[in-house]
């Protein structure tokens, strides 16, 4: 009896270490534990290479090997006939394994010992259950929940609805209660948080550079990154105290047991990252990864279809009572990074900061309050980096930051590609002197 490799992926997650048997050129066997067996595709697995050992000497001379894995739920054993193909020391497979190994190492108390030197890729020739070792019981992916969430995304006519449908749907249809959605700022080489669920702080506007942490690695490698056990060095939820006044704290669980970051891509282009986490170990397996990749692909296609001239389908916000309060709001603008501070509190920076400054300037000079997406996109002062830059995403970010940090200013969609700026208090606009603001970044 043979089974498909894809149907035993849950046995490869390191809950119980796998073993590999090899044989030297002169016929001497060797058997060794393997920290991590990584599912690559229907015909390949990659094994962690941490030390130069007998296994490695043997497979370089004689590529035939046998891997023994155990179903962590049933105890059923499976044997894989494999043949060594190559070793990778960088790229998506390596990075994905490196991060996952950190979780396994922490879980097994081997953080100071385990370090990935390479990913040994093997072709899988056959997969069999070991006779008499237990039932071949395979887990079922929660397809009904996936379908429900997928249908929910289909009905979304604008970016805000789409973001909320995805994050609410993860909690309601798939019971994933802690999630963050990041969009890509191509010009800055970062992703910024546009929505989250399951935390005390939303973290809207917080940023992660590409390559940093599990989200940044998923973004840089365009590959899902999954950790099945707690790994201290990859947790979020801690403010980096470096004196940068424009840094918004990232939300995150203090002690995540499982983490999964899925890049959102359209063709070769990175649009963002979906990140989920759980307090439980082993909460996200390969099936969860498949599900969220499928959702991320649908989200990417939906995002691509929404142009900036979309219908304003979000529920309109109540109009602010304009100019009734007498104490003015003092807003300061730093040209070097387009950051805006309300009194002494950081509000927003970058493209969204430039947009706000432009709107407030028009509002204070001429009293104008109606604007269009099109004029913003053409405005040289705002300087959208290129034609691909998603203006709508910046408006959503700005709108949400205002809701959290400055409720006296509001952006309200009024028609297709048009919105209104509501300002409830008199505003004083100042261009700040840059000297002494060394940590504000462009």
């Amino acid at each position: 009896m043979s089974v498909a490799l894809s149907s035993i992926r849950h046995c490869l997650d390191g809950a119980i270490p796998a073993a590999i048997a090899t044989c030297s050129a002169d016929g001497i066997p060797n058997v060794s534990y393997v920290s991590e067996v990584h599912y690559v595709d229907l015909r390949h697995v990659a094994l962690s290479y941490q030390f130069f050992n007998k296994t490695r000497v043997n497979v370089l001379a004689n590529p035939a090997a046998r891997v023994l894995v155990i179903d962590p739920n049933s105890g059923t054993q499976y044997e894989l006939d494999v043949a060594y193909e190559r070793t990778e020391t960088d790229g998506p497979i390596f990075q994905s394994m490196r991060v996952k190994l950190a979780g396994i190492a922490a879980h097994t108390g081997m953080s100071t010992v385990f370090r990935l030197r390479g990913s040994d890729v093997y072709e899988v020739l056959a997969v069999r259950p070991v006779a008499g070792s237990g039932p071949v019981a395979l887990p079922q992916a929660p397809l009904p929940g996936l379908r429900r969430l997928s249908e929910r995304l289909v009905g979304c006519g604008d970016l805000e609805l789409l973001i909320d449908a995805l994050l609410d749907g993860l909690a309601e249809a798939l019971s994933i209660g802690h999630s963050m959605l990041f969009l890509h700022d191509e010009a800055a080489g970062r992703v910024y948080l546009i929505g989250s669920r399951g935390y005390d702080l939303t973290g809207i506007g917080s940023e992660i550079p590409l390559g940093h942490g599990i989200v940044g690695i998923a973004a840089a490698e365009r590959a899902p990154i999954r950790i099945t056990h707690h790994a201290e060095e990859f947790r979020y939820g801690e403010t980096i105290r470096d004196g940068d006044a424009t840094r918004i704290p990232l939300p995150g669980l203090a002690h995540p047991g499982s983490q999964l970051a899925i890049p959102i891509v359209a063709g070769a282009r990175l649009l963002g990252v979906l990140y989920v986490e759980s307090t439980q170990s082993g909460a996200f397996g390969y099936d969860s990864e498949d599900m969220l990749v499928t959702l991320a692909n649908q989200f990417a296609a939906s995002l691509y279809l929404l142009d900036d001239e979309q219908h304003a389908t979000s529920a309109p916000a109540a109009t602010l009572a304009t100019g009734t309060a007498t104490i003015p709001l003092r807003l300061r603008y730093f040209r070097s990074n387009c950051s805006v501070f309300v009194d002494d509190d950081y509000l927003i920076k970058g493209v969204a900061g430039a947009i706000l400054w432009k709107l407030l300037g028009e509002f204070t000079q001429s009293g104008r309050s109606q604007f269009s997406n099109r004029e913003l996109r053409l405005d040289p002062d705002i300087g959208l980096p290129d034609v691909c830059e998603n203006l709508e995403a910046r408006l959503v970010l700005l709108k949400r930051r205002l809701l959290e940090k400055c409720s006296d200013i509001r952006i309200v969609p009024v028609a297709r590609g048009k919105f209104r700026l509501d300002v409830a208090r008199p505003v004083i606009l100042e261009i700040a002197e840059e000297a002494g603001r060394g940590r504000a970044r462009p």
Binding site: I16, A19, A25, P29, N30, Y33, K54, R66, V130, A131
Partner: protein, 164 residues
């Protein structure tokens, strides 16, 4: 050969390999294709002979390979500490079931399943991993030719030697 025999006559080491540790046995056939199976007990004699008990049904391919080539590699690993050693031998022989082995297997199952349960694995999974029908175990007997430290880390692969 003498060195390995000395090592296996060390009481502490005999106790380790005959305790509740994870035991995996590998061999290879004439075509140098490796095979591997999980063992269900170990008898470490004071005469330097080691007998590994394997479930007959699950390990039939392994037993066939040992019968043909006599080459074995056995890794013993303590799940809680990762302390591991590997014993290699040639000239191993396959022995038919012995009535005295049932008690050895029972003791091993209880000890190993207890180890796994202490680490948080389910009792059901732990028992299934080492369960076998009574009276079905076969033996693989050999005199160790070499013993290696296989505890993860920079010393993994170093031969283990004892004085005397």
């Amino acid at each position: 050969m003498t060195s390995a025999r000395n090592v296996i006559q060390d009481a502490g080491l005999r106790e380790f390999i005959a305790g509740g540790v994870s035991i995996l046995v590998a061999s290879c056939d004439r075509d140098r294709k490796p095979v591997v199976a999980r063992a269900c007990g170990c008898i470490a004699g004071t005469d330097g002979l080691v007998t590994i008990l394997v479930p007959g049904v699950r390990a039939q391919v392994l037993l066939d390979a040992v019968t043909v080539t006599g080459a074995v590699a056995v890794v013993f690993s303590e799940p809680a500490t990762h302390r591991s050693i590997q014993i290699k031998a040639d000239g191993a022989s396959v022995l038919l079931a012995d009535p005295g082995w049932d008690a050895v297997c029972d003791r091993y199952r209880r000890a190993f399943a207890g180890e796994l349960e202490r680490l948080g694995y389910s009792a059901r999974m732990a028992r299934r991993l080492v369960d076998d029908e009574a009276g079905q175990a076969s033996g693989i007997r050999f005199t160790p030719a070499a013993i290696f430290d296989q505890t993860p880390g920079p010393r993994a692969g170093d031969p283990i030697e004892v004085a005397g």
